[in-house]
């Protein structure tokens, strides 16, 4: 009976599995193939060469990759520090007030990311909401914080906060209260409880939240375009330019493959380290 169930399950999932494989893997295969074509061709019927990959190194595209990864790392670290207390409160302390926070954070997702970022531009720009009012009242203006690396990281933190907050709250909710109390009772200090009990037991939530926000931030370009005024170029921006303005599909493909390899490897490594079933509620 069990064997039959399994067989039926496999068969009934087959059509959708094939559809998903085609729609996900086929574009990836096309991109992978284009990445080994000579520059600026629009056909796969060419002898493969790796010239596009050497362009990545010779024309400085690695710099924008490093910027993207660096800013993603910075925003992920900031998010982790910022969201831990909030997520802790949502999971253990706030009670019904948690729902209010959840709704407030989710509401922000209802408005397009670009529109929200333009909202920040209007708020922070010279003569904008803050500086304009300040100057009107005091007579002294100050420089806008816009158009720099700092404000891009701020944008990443702002946009990807929900992707860190909710998995983290879920992870912290999985830490049983009495293990924390037991550790304290056995002589641990607040810090020792945090490092030796809470963080290891909330690890699935930490890993999932960090991966989500890192992967999304590494592939983000709106923050650097809108808030950063392209003070630094995001790697995703380079990829877009190569496909559109540059009309160089093989280069765009090669850059994409590099990005996919790095992020995919990181994600697989992260996921292999934690028990994802636990956070999905399939255990306990």
């Amino acid at each position: 009976m069990n064997a039959l169930d399994r067989k039926l399950g496999f068969l009934s999932s087959l059509p959708l599995t094939i559809l998903l494989l085609i729609s996900f893997l086929a574009p990836m295969a096309v991109v992978a193939l284009f990445s080994v074509m000579p520059a600026k061709v629009f056909s796969l019927a060419n002898a493969p060469d790796f010239s596009s990959y050497s362009v990545f190194l010779s024309q400085g595209y690695y710099k924008s990759l490093l910027w993207s990864l660096g800013m993603a790392l910075a925003s992920t670290c900031i998010l982790l520090l910022l969201c831990w207390p909030l997520a802790y409160g949502m999971a253990k302390v706030f009670g019904r007030f948690t729902l209010v926070i959840t709704i407030a954070v989710v509401m922000s997702l209802f408005v397009s990311e670009n529109i929200r970022l333009f909202g920040w531009v209007l708020t922070l720009m010279k003569g904008g909401l803050i500086e304009g009012h300040w100057r009107a009242f005091t007579g002294n203006g100050f420089d806008s914080p816009l158009y720099g690396v700092g404000i891009i990281v701020f944008g990443l933190v702002y946009v990807y906060l929900p992707f860190m907050l909710f998995p983290l709250a879920q992870g912290i909710a999985m830490v049983p209260d009495d293990t924390r109390q037991a550790a304290y009772d056995l002589g641990a200090t607040r810090w020792q409880v945090l490092w030796q009990i809470e963080i290891p037991l909330a690890a699935p939530g930490i890993v999932v939240g960090s991966l989500l926000s890192f992967v999304l931030a590494a592939g983000a370009l709106a923050e650097s375009k809108i808030l950063g005024g392209q003070a630094v170029i995001a790697f995703a921006d380079d990829i877009e330019t190569a496909f559109t303005f540059g009309q160089n599909w093989p280069l765009g493909s090669a850059l994409s493959i590099i990005m996919i390899a790095i992020i995919g490897g990181l994600a697989l490594f992260g996921v292999s380290k934690v028990d994802l079933d636990a956070i999905m509620g399939r255990k306990r």
Binding site: Q181, A182, Y184, D185, L186, G187, Q196
Partner: protein
Amino acid sequence: MSEKAFLHLKDIVKKFGNFTALDGVDLGIHKGEFFTIVGPSGSGKSTLIRLLVGMDDVTTGEIHLNGKRIDQTPANLRPTCMVFQSLALFPHMSVGQNIEFPLKLRKESPAARRTRALELLDLLRLPQEYYDKRISQCSGGEKQRVALARALAFNPEILFFDEPLSALDYRLRKTLEKELKDLHARTGKTFVYITHSLEEAMVMSDRIAIMKDGCIEQVAVADEIYGKPVSRFVAEFMGEVNLFPISADAKGTLLSDFLLVKNCLEVNVVPPNAQGLLMVRPEYVRFVNDGESYDFNLSGQIHGEYALGSRIQYEIETTAGIITVEKLREDRLNASNGDAVTVGFNSNCTHFICDAI
């Protein structure tokens, strides 16, 4: 309350908002004692133990341990340790790491920690291979022993237990009760145990405290609590009991007429002018055969017969209400429901409770 008490609770009050969970608890626990606090759920026993280990603050009152006041000391600095109801083992650590946790906090060397952990595995009769096992690979009873080993590794002056056996099945619980008593004897530590189960308390404890509505009703050795309860609550909490509302005149003569008292009962069963309850446990009530005579006699019909394993329980309907009688299985009565019987008991098997009728 002797001043020599090792753990001394002075007038402990704990309030949660308007609700008074503990209403003036005074208690003295001696060094090396196995002390059990028994009470129904909601009696405040769990609140009390949380105060003692430091997970909650007392509203008013003082706790002294070994002459030092500890109620203002945070839990991680108190020389006490608790075995949780859920055991609260750390699932991300191996058995060995769990046991070594308190030692690691004290920065003991890995070699010393390991030696101590292996000693404790031996003490709790767990094989040394368990050192590297994962917690999830252990059975319920093994987890219990690991939790105990971890608490003992902390080397507390007092070990608290918050109903750690309540989640286990009957047989395992019985085994562990005896092991725990044995462990108490071997370690010589002071154990303070909380349970709602009278049986658990009777098997293991040196002394028992009964709690009700945030107050201690009675503190005594098990036999005394069982045989000489101070109130109806304690009497009924400690198992099956027959209670007769009685009163006496100035000479101590019983005025209740439903008990067919044997003529010229001269024994001082109750104090003069007593108002209260006369208690007799079911195992002291006898079926009266012809020619036998007891101090107190009642006639009625058999109302029900229940097998309790080694014993048989009878319910007898009499003018004084339903009387419970227990017999050993080998003394089973050859009778059926509705049969007329006479039951009796002697005054030396009774206990007078001066309590509200």
